[in-house]
Symmetry: C2
Subunit: 257 residues, 2 copies
DNA sequence: ATGTCTTTGTGAACGCGTGCACAAAGATGG
DNA sequence: CCATCTTTGTGCACGCGTTCACAAAGACAT
């Protein structure tokens, strides 16, 4: 998962577990594909396979929504698409603003993924005067000075931050003050927000680092606990006594830079 | 979190819980910032605040790595940076390939986030002949026909997929066959891979849908279980019998489009 | 040395999420 | 109408992750 939650910790939202909510979009995508192929019904087994999850988990997830589905038959595809869409709030459309139209922001704006289902880009916003007015994804970039007005006039409650890390918290504060209560953050920073505001983050480098960890582990166990791979730079400071009890071997007491 | 894991389920990797691994990059980032400000030591309380987590959790996370830290004082910033880097495998550098240099792929390639810490973009690859040879992020795009050769010659074990959904599984298969064992997937599809291959996914629209869910819930509870907010389209279809027991109200039986 | 004060490291309890396994429900055929 | 077969919905148990709360460890002053 390339995402991290920053949320009020234990709030089981109206009986639907957070883990289930996170999977609903997955089911919805699989169901939409089936719907386009005019498949009328689908079993939990088939749908689970398409969504890449366990069928028992899928059935339990659906049980939180209600008792849709017919024993001996399966689930009605169209009906389920609607139920999940409604549960996720996709039957209304959500105007969003995107702040920070650099490389990433522009790419996101051009990405069709939003508009398709329930989301509408109300405005693209940047702080650079040179960007203002330039069309991106068929829409002129607006200046951040107008942020509050734009949010207010369009009734925006969801904001996407794609600014550099340094500007993110400041932008976040302005969004929240202007009334935004959900934020998707692409900047590599921890945002702090008041209670009642949801933040989800997408962090490329974190994802890669997690992969690197597993990659290293795979390489390591295949080669036994091989020789010392990296003691390049020497550490001048006080040797950290002897008390270290790191799990693997013992620490090299050095920093590679 | 804008990420979802697709992983062998219960493999506690060498004693370090998966949840902890996912937080290490966060700690590392906070520590690096402290290091740049030449802060020598930091307490679990301070660091936890900077990383946006609970201090007890942070201490427990670090306890899996070993007993770094001095009671009454805190943690040595430089030392901890090194230990975490080593644990994550960032003391070596990882060549990666990125497949699919469209809007998103190009933006990712330009994003400095990789190179900075342990990752090196070995090649940008696309299937479109018109793209081949064009420089993106100071590097010529190569054709996908050379995928296997590139992976082999550079010893690549991590791949990033930024292709359209339709091409993703196919690209994934080729990557895996060529020897890649970790994949970061930006395409909105579920990838299936053999055991031993790690996949992490970053999915924009899923993140937005999760936000929409919470947004809807907030709006709903603030207005009591108010009047029907959105019955714009009329549903003509067959009322689905009576047996439905959805939690809220009762089902509308149809899809708004 | 001894005492005080700070902060770590962790035992223990709790809650959430997952998966098994099965009873109940309904379809289908005779 | 009954038997059989399929598939849902869920009770239950288990394991992971989080959090509390505190003892132990060390720094620091006297």
């Amino acid at each position: 998962m390339a995402t991290g939650r920053t949320h009020r910790p234990a709030t089981r939202s109206r009986g639907i577990p957070e883990a289930t909510v996170a999977r609903l979009p997955l089911y919805l995508r699989a169901l939409t594909a089936l719907s386009e192929r005019s498949v009328p019904t689908v079993s939990s087994e088939e749908l689970a396979a398409a969504a890449g999850v366990n069928s028992a988990k899928l059935r339990k997830d659906f049980s939180y929504l209600g008792s849709y589905g017919t024993r001996g038959v399966g689930y009605d595809v169209e009906y389920l698409v609607y139920q999940i869409s409604r549960e996720l709030g996709l039957t209304q459309d959500w105007p969003i603003v995107m702040v920070g139209i650099g490389n990433l922001g522009a790419a996101l704006a051009n990405y069709g993924g939003f508009a398709s289902r329930g989301f509408r880009v109300a405005a693209l916003i940047d702080a650079d005067p040179a960007m203002v007015g330039k069309p991106v994804a068929g829409m002129p970039v607006q200046h951040i000075d107008d942020l509050e007005k734009i949010i207010d006039e369009n009734g925006v409650s969801i904001g996407v931050i794609a600014t550099p890390a340094g500007a993110a918290q400041q932008v976040c504060d302005r969004l929240v003050t202007a009334g935004v209560t959900s934020i998707l953050n692409f900047a590599p920073t921890v945002l702090s927000v008041p209670d009642g505001v949801d933040v989800r983050k997408v962090d490329l480098s974190i994802e890669l680092q997690i992969l690197a960890f597993h990659e290293q582990r795979k390489a390591g166990e295949e080669a036994g606990a091989a020789e010392a791979v990296v003691p390049p730079v020497v550490r001048g400071a006080t040797a950290p006594a002897e008390g270290r009890k790191g799990p693997d071997g013992d620490m090299p007491a050095v920093m590679p830079a």
